[in-house]
Each structure stands twice: as C-alpha cells, then as structure tokens.
Amino acid sequence: MRKELFFLFLISYSVLFAQQELYEEADRFYAKNDWSAAYDLFSESSVVFLQETKWNDYIHCNVRMADCLLRMTLFQEGLALSDSILNFIKKWSSSDTLMLADVNRIKGEIWLNLGNNEKALEHLHIAEKIYPKTINLPLAECYNLLGIIYWNNQNQSISRQYHQMALEIKSKVVGDNSLTVADSYNNLGLLYTNSNPSLAYDYFEKALKTYENQLGTLHPKVGYCLINMGKSQLNSGWIDQAQELIIKAELIWGELYKYDHPAKAFTFLAKGEVFEYANDQNNALLSYETALQMYVRLFGEKHPEVANTYLKIGGLFQSKSNFKNAVLSFQRAIYSNIRSPFVENIYSITPLDDYFNADILLASLLSKAKALEALHFEKSLKIKDLKQAIVTYQQADTLLNKLRTIRKSEADQLRLGEQSLLIYENGIQLCEVLALQPAFFESYKKIAFSFSERSKAALLLKSIEDTKPTAFKGLPERMQLQESKIKDSLALIALVRLKDPTNKSYQQKEFALNQAYVSLQNDIKLNYPDYFELKYPSSLIGLDDFQKLLKEGEIALTYLEGNQSLIVLLISSDEIEIVVKPLPVEYKKWIPGLRNSISYQLDKQTRKISSELYNFLLPELPKNTSKIIIIPDGKLHQLPFEVLYDITSNKWLIENYEISYAYSATLWSKTITENTLDENTGIALAAPVEFNQSGLVTLPDSEKETQDLKYLFLSHRMPTYQVLREKATEESIKNANFGKYSFLHFATHGVVDMQNPSRSCIYLQPDSVNDGQLFAGEIYGLNFTSKLVSLSACETGLGQFASGEGILGLTRALTFAGAKQLLVSLWSVSDESTAQLMVGFYTNVIRNNSETSFSQALQQAKLDLLHHDQWKKPYYWAPFILIGN
C-alpha cells in the first residue's frame, strides 16, 4: 500500500512537474517573442488543466493564449477567445477578478489594434477599475494602454498623466532598466514628438538603450523605437539622421518579418514623411503607396490606418497642386474610415454615421474641403467645387460637435475650438464668394449666417461641460444619467456593428436603443424645454427670422475673428453684407493697448487706437442706422465699441448710435421683451458693502447707490426689495422672492476666473450655509424672470476666451438663469462714477417708460457722464455694456 501510495505520489508529482515544465516552457517562448510556440504550449497546458478541472489555471492559460493571439496580430481569434474566457469566468470562476481584468486589458489592446478606440476604452476602463490600486504591473500596463488611446483621441493631457503614472509604477516595481519602463519612455516620447521633438528624442533614446540591452538589436520594439526617433529627428529638421534611423528599422523588419506586417507599412509611411520633408515628392508618394497597399492587404480597405495613409497621399497631391487627385485621395480617406461602400463621386454626400476613427475622419473632411477650395481657385473655377467644399465644412462641423462630447480635457477642447474656427472662417469666406454669384445671392448669405451662429452656439455646449452645474433648469439627475447611459450604449453598439454589420441581434439592439433615446428626448423637450434648448441648441435662428426681429434703423454686426481674417456680417432688416478683412499685424495689440490707454486715461493714445479700430471694425453702415447690436468674437469681447472714435466727425460711436451686445443672434432673439414698466415692475437690490474675503475692499458708495435706486423706484410707486450688508447672503439671492423682480441690481465685487469659468463668482455675505461666493455653476441653477440684471461690479463682463468658442463667464450663467438683459462692466470701475451712471440709467428707464429701450437709456446715461467735466473720459463712462436687446 505504501508502495502504491509512493507511486501515486510520484506520478502526481511527475504530472504536476510536467505541467509546470510545460507552462514555463511556454513562458520562455513568450519572452522570446515566439508567440506561436508559446500559444501551442499554453494550449497544451490548458487542456491538461481542463481535464483536471483546475479552472483558475485553465483560465490563466487561456488568458495567456489570448495574449499570444494578440501578439501574432490574430485579432479576431484573440477577441473570440477573450469572449469565451469571459463567459467561462462568469460560469465557473467568479473568485479571481484579476483575470477578468487581464482579459479586459487584452480585449482593450486588441480593439486598440483594430483602431476602435472607444471599444478599447470601454474594456480598459473596466480593467482599470478591477485592478487593485496598489503598485502592480498589470495596472501600469493598463494605464499605458489608456495613455495610448487618449493620445490617439488627442486627449494629450490625460494621456500624459496615464503614461506618467504607468512609468512611476513600473520604475518602482521593476527598476529603471526594465523593458516595461522603456515602453513608458517610448510612449512619453510619442506624446512630445510634435510639441517638443528634442525631449521626445531623449525619451526614445532611453527606451532604445534598454530595448537593445535586454532584447538585442533585432526586436520589434527596437524597430519601432528607431522609427519614433527618426520622426522626432525629422521634426527637428534633421533629415539625414531621420532617414538613417528609419532605414535601420527597415532592416530589422526585413529580418523579422518575411511577409506583410503593420510594422513594415508603418515604416513606409515614416519613410514617405522623410521624403516629403526633403521635398522628394515622387519617392514620398511611392513610399505612401507601398504602405497603403500593405495596409490594405493586412486590414482590408476599411481601416483607420488605410484612411490615414490616404490622408497622407492626399496631402502630398495637395502640395504638388494636383488638387483633383488630392480631393479623390481625401474622399478615399473618408470612405476607408466609414462603413458605407466607397463612392467615387466627390460631390456626393458622405454618410458619416458609422466611423472608425473620428479624428482621422475630421482631418479627412477638413482636408477635402480645403482641397476642393484649392481645386476651384487654382484650377477648375467650377462653382460645384465650392458648393461641395461648403457642404464638407458643414459635415465636419457636425462631426466636430459629436467629438466635443468625447474630448475630456480643457486643452483638447481648445484644440477642437481651433478646428471649428477653421471651419467657420473658411466656410463663411466661401459663402461670401458664392453670395456674389447671381444665382446664389441669398442662399449662401443664409449659410454664412448659420456658420456664424454655429460658431457662437458651440459656446453653449462648452459652458455646460465646463461649469457642471448641479441642476440644469430642473432636469432630474436620474434623467441626465439615463440620457448619458443610452448615448454610451448607442456609441458602443455602433462600434460593434462596424465589425459585424449583418448581425441582426445588434441591429435590433441599436433600434431599441434609438427608440428609447427618441422617447427620452421627447420627454425632456416636453417637460424641460429650457434644458432641451440649452443642451441641443439646434434650433438656431435663421437669417430671415432674425431680420424680421430687427427694427427700422437697427443693425447687427456679427464678428468672427479668424486666424487670418476678421469676418463681419452686417445685418439689417432687409440686407446682409459679408465683409472679410485680413487681420493686420497690429490687431493683437490694439485692444489691450486701448484698454490700457483708457485705464491710464491717456486721451490722445485712446483716440488714436480707437480711431484705428473704428476704421477696421466698422463697415460702412446704412445711413438710417440708429442702433447697433454687436455680436462680438474673440478679443472683441473685451472691447466696448462705444469708445470707437470717428476721426472725421470727432465723435465717439456712442454719440451717434445706441449700442447693445449679444452672444449670438439666437440668444439675442430670446431676450426680446417689452420694456413697458408698470407699478408691478420693481427692483431687487443687493449690496454686501463690506467683505470678509481677503483682498476685497469695502464699497461704501454701493450702499448709497442702492439706496438712491430704491428711492427712485419708490418715488415712481414701484416695489423694491433690498438686501443690504449682512442680509445680502447667497440664500437671499437664491430665494425665489429675489428673482421675481423685473430688475436685479448687484452692487458688489465680482470676479471672473479666466482659467476656470465655473469659479467666476459674485461676492455676497457668508452665512451658516454658504461661503458668500455665488459661483457661476450655482447661478446656472437659479431661476430669474427679470428684464435686466445689473452687476455694478468689477470686470463682470469678462471671462475666459477660447479660440472658436467665445467667452465664458458670469454673463453666460446669468443668461441661462433667465436674465433677459445684462448690464456688466469690462474693467475695474470707479465706485463713484458707477453710482452716477447707474442712477442715471435707471432714471432714464423709469422716466421714459416704454418709449425708450435700455440701450437708449444707457446711451443717455453715458452721454450725461461724457458731457460732465469730471467724468468725460472713457474710463468713467465706457466700461458698462448692455448685453441683450
């Protein structure tokens, strides 16, 4: 019996030992990058484990097999195995969650390789959540992959954070000279390749050193690292060095891969870039086309790498002034990136519902539009080329709005803003050209107007994203979550369908989700119309409707500050004129210069700069103009147009015209309200006077100012509500009683946080509940019904300016809180002159009742100051502007 037991033990031990040996052998092959052999041995091991019902070991072997399939670029097989592992885990082993994380990490990496970033993100974020947040390598690898995806998505700041976290973990776990740390150096290098190529080169060099030491010179990682180094050298202008490095990589691939491989195709692309940089266009084209053919053989026609290569080829044709071929290549780039079959007709409308890589698609659309533009102006002169360029810009704009929801960091949002600016600037300029054609006079003016409005509407979405208010116009959080969940599911199902378009089950799911989404939208539209309008500002006002709202003598000047030009749309009730002016070099200095000269009360300098601005900014106005509505853009948000100086008549603009401001024609149209005052019209006044917060001085005149206003209204038998000193708390403002008055007047300090608009606030008195700072984020949730909110405070009209986005500050928040019109200031103001101006303004409003608009009342109040010896300088009368009708 003992003997038998001994033999049984011996056999068991031998089997176990053999299993162990088999697994370790597989691991050795894996380490040597012989993934095929490793796969076979892991597979053998897994069979043994299965027979012995050692589920965890069996799963572990399968995870390693999926990993091998990934390394062998057998992506579909890798996905299929990963799915079966997940099913298996669900059925048999719920205990080892780490393996669940591993499978999701592998799936994420496979999707990343397949170019499906969103799907990859989904799995990697699952893995990220499961991995314990201790220092462990799989978590670092997960961070690493997330860093790569966010880099692909142009979310560079987030990508950098992930890579740095990965590097930190890896260095601690395996030391600085390990391969995985080298991977992180390589990835960080990639992040800096364009922005700081010499820093990128340093990172790559560190990675290469480790790769060569650990893996020898014939290894894919060495090859990729060499290409990356080549690219960074190219960006520094070192062509020969770049070429040398890429040839070294090419030799490695020659040894490693006998047949087609993405690495080889990637190298051809890099070679093409070097040739292109060296202006050797023929060889560049040859390299790109070789890369393209290889990618197509590897991935088929529909793949982001294929699209990207077409994009490169198109760019090359564009630089050779071969615009027709450039357009065709961009067309191919678009279709390689979407599910629909290729259509060669460049004038057809491309369906953009299902795409693989949004960034490449956006770049392809913009490139196509620009190539069509060039084709027209430099070759064909065909009107249809310009028309199609405009259509393509419109499509790019639609896609860009989708991307805004994907982009996470502020820096990346700003990059999108720059792309949107390109769309609007070019789009309007093309409309201007087409609007000169007899057949299209009207239609393209309308499109130009809609581009302009869309450029302003982008701001609405951004302000929501940035401010993250706790409650938007009363929409329950449950519904916000529901909306977000359905949208996410729709995005995911769309991606799954890309790979398996004929799968009916996915089609049904997509249909069901769409139905749920439509139903939810209808519900929101019906029950929360304000939120709907805020979140989906698709119902932008059209030109015809806007013109109907303009009265005789009223004109609107809508500005778009482009990269190269300033575009002005002059709109009256029966006409629209598009004026495009190249931006002069001194433009950037004008507005800060003017603000400084006003601030330091340098009269001569003020008149000089403001007369230059007058000539540049104002097109010839119709003779009957009496009122100008300014819809500014960019730096113009900081300019009170009232101070523009007409040197021929020696008058400030305010002396000739009433002036008001709006963020967009759409928003302006919503501010139209009857100014009729009656005995129910009242004013709510808030003046904390003294402040606990450091750096804020006491405002003694604010108390007098509010008292004066109170008595002014009372003398006209109008109700007043005043919260003074310690009573001027946040609660008193949030109280429904305050917001119901027709006029809300804040005589206090305000601050606009240029970096973080949601931190902009109005200062009030703290109480037991609140800190006395009414933030923009909180203002979004308030509900005002007032005709006018005045902020008799410092620089409350300013805000963060974002290229292509507009300005974000307190004014935006107040508008959404329901204020029809706003009176705010553009620079720090004198306490005393402000009180004068405010009293003058309200006096004019009340005395003239409905016969005068607020802009007229403000004009008169400013003119009174202007004609007063003590206050005649613009510093005193110019800072306050009226936003609204």
Binding site: H376, F377, E378, K379, S380, L381, K382, I383, L386, V433, L434, L436, Q437, P438
Partner: protein, 299 residues
C-alpha cells in the same frame, strides 16, 4: 483687339488693355498665350480681319512682358491685302496700391512689319499695281513709342496712355492710280497718307467690370484724342505739311463678356461701337464697330 476701334494699338497694351484679370483670391498664372480673332468694319468698305497671337509673361509679382503679333487680312472695294501686322512689345510694372486697387505703368513700342505701301492690281487700277490706302495696309509703317498708367480694382479700371509715332511711313496712295473705279467720289473718300507721320494720341479708358466666379462682363468708354496733326508729304508742293482736321476725339463704347473655363482656359467676346470720330483720318484707323473673340491659355 489689334489696332482696335480707332487706335493705333496702345489701348490693348499692358496696363491699358481692357478686361484685365483682377482677383484677390484666384491664383493668377504667370504666363499666357492668347489667340484673338478680330473683325472691324471701317467707315468705308474695308473690313479688317486680324488673327493675333499674344504672349504675356510675368516676372515675379510686379513685372510683366507682352508681345503681340497680328496677321491681318483686309477686304474692300479697292482690293484686298494680307500680311503680318505691326509687332507690339511692352513691359508693365505694378508700382503701388491706391484705394484697394493696383496702380501699374507700361512702356512699349510698336515695330512696323512693312512700309504701309502694299499695292493691288485690278481692273479699277488699270491692271497696273496701285498703292492701296492706309485702310488696306497691314502695318502703320512707323516705329511708335507707347507709355501709360492704369489703376484697377475689383470694379473699375481707369487708364491713360500716350502713343507717339517716331517715324513716317512710305504709303503713296493716290486717287489717280484708280482711274477705272466706277465711282471716283468713293476713291476720294480715302484720305491721302503720303509718307504719313501720325500725330500723337492720348487715350483714356474707363471701364466698369462686374466680376463673378468664372465670368465677368464690363462696360467701358474709350476716348482717344489726337493732340497733334498728322503730317504728310505734299507731292504738289514737294514739302511736308500738317493736315487740318486730323486732331480731335474718337470715342468708342465697349462691352465685353468673359468666361473662364478653368484657371487655365478662358474665352472673351468684345464688341466696340464708334460714338464719335475725327473728320480726316489719313491713317485709316476708323472703325464703325469691332467684334473680337479671344481664347487665352494661361499657365
């Protein structure tokens, strides 16, 4: 337009030419070859046909060269004549900007290809070779100096120029050489231009263009004032003399339509109509109307 409505060629030279390209956005090509077919109906019976080849080349952004070589064919009651017309050479330069337009100057010359003494033999000339009047000549027969200045913007072209004949020609048309022509009074309508030296011309071009993406049309006025009298050799007095009534205004109205097939290819049709004329025109530069068609290849 060759020797156009009533001018000796300077109106179509360099900066003074009509229907010039002007665009802030279009990429203008540096060179062009143009073929122009022109038909002009003179005040008398001759009809002038010209096939002109024109070459323009720009050097950089501001300097351009122009060469024009017409082949002319004239048919009239006294006969017909064909041959190479006067060669025009000019250079232009953009010298500055004014009121959102460009200012350009041109200097050039006209080189005669013959002495304007082509003859024709017919029954009307008694079957003997007889000198044809200037109307029938393919060349003006003189070396001319041309200078001009122009301002052009999107809508307007204002140009002025001067053309000075430096030499006299060798034309020896005499009424008596056409003894058998049935209507002697008709022959006498051709002014004598014996060894003609033309007076100096000053022109002004005012043109309003309506430009669109790939077509344009324009309306213009072209007053040409001959400021000094023509001079001929009086064979009776055997001395050179100034011819009275050869000075004065010749005014034409012009309209054109141009269509750009692409940046490289363009077509243009121009119609000119005489509004006023000088009394005496020994040089034969009078047209009731002209019609010209141009194809331009730009590269």
């Amino acid at each position: 337009m060759g020797q156009g409505c009533s001018d000796a060629g300077f109106c179509t030279m360099g900066a003074m030419r009509p229907n010039q390209a002007y665009s802030k956005r279009l990429k203008l090509k540096l060179r062009s070859i143009e073929y122009n077919f022109y038909r002009g109906q003179s005040n008398l019976t001759p009809v002038i046909y010209a096939h002109t080849v024109e070459f323009n080349a720009s050097i950089g952004n501001s300097i351009s060269l122009q060469v024009k070589a017409p082949f002319m064919h004239i048919e009239g009651n006294l006969g017909n004549n064909s041959g190479l017309g006067d060669i025009s050479l000019s250079t232009s330069r953009t010298i500055g900007k004014w009121k959102e337009g460009n200012i350009g100057i041109t200097v050039g010359a006209k080189i005669p290809t013959n002495n304007s003494n082509a003859e024709f033999t017919s029954a009307e000339s008694g079957n003997l070779p007889a000198d044809l009047p200037m109307y029938y000549q393919t060349s003006l027969g003189s070396f001319d100096l041309v200078a001009g200045v122009a301002w052009i913007n999107e809508k307007w072209l204002l140009a002025t120029g001067i053309q000075i004949a430096l030499t006299e020609n060798k034309n020896e048309f005499k009424w008596g050489e056409w003894p058998a022509y049935p209507d002697p009074m008709y022959v006498r309508k051709y002014d004598i231009a014996n060894h003609l030296k033309r007076g100096t011309d000053v022109m002004v071009r005012i043109e309003r263009s309506f430009r669109f993406l790939n077509f344009d049309y324009s309306l213009g006025l072209l007053p040409i004032y001959r400021v000094s009298k023509d001079e001929i050799f009086n064979t009776t007095l055997e001395k050179r003399e100034k011819v009275d009534q050869t000075t004065g205004l010749a005014l034409s109205g012009l309209t054109s339509f141009g269509y750009q097939l692409s940046i490289n290819h363009g077509l243009r049709l121009v119609y000119g109509y005489k509004l006023t004329d000088r009394e005496i025109n020994p040089d034969g530069l009078t047209r009731k109307n002209v019609l010209s068609f141009t194809y331009a290849y730009k590269f």
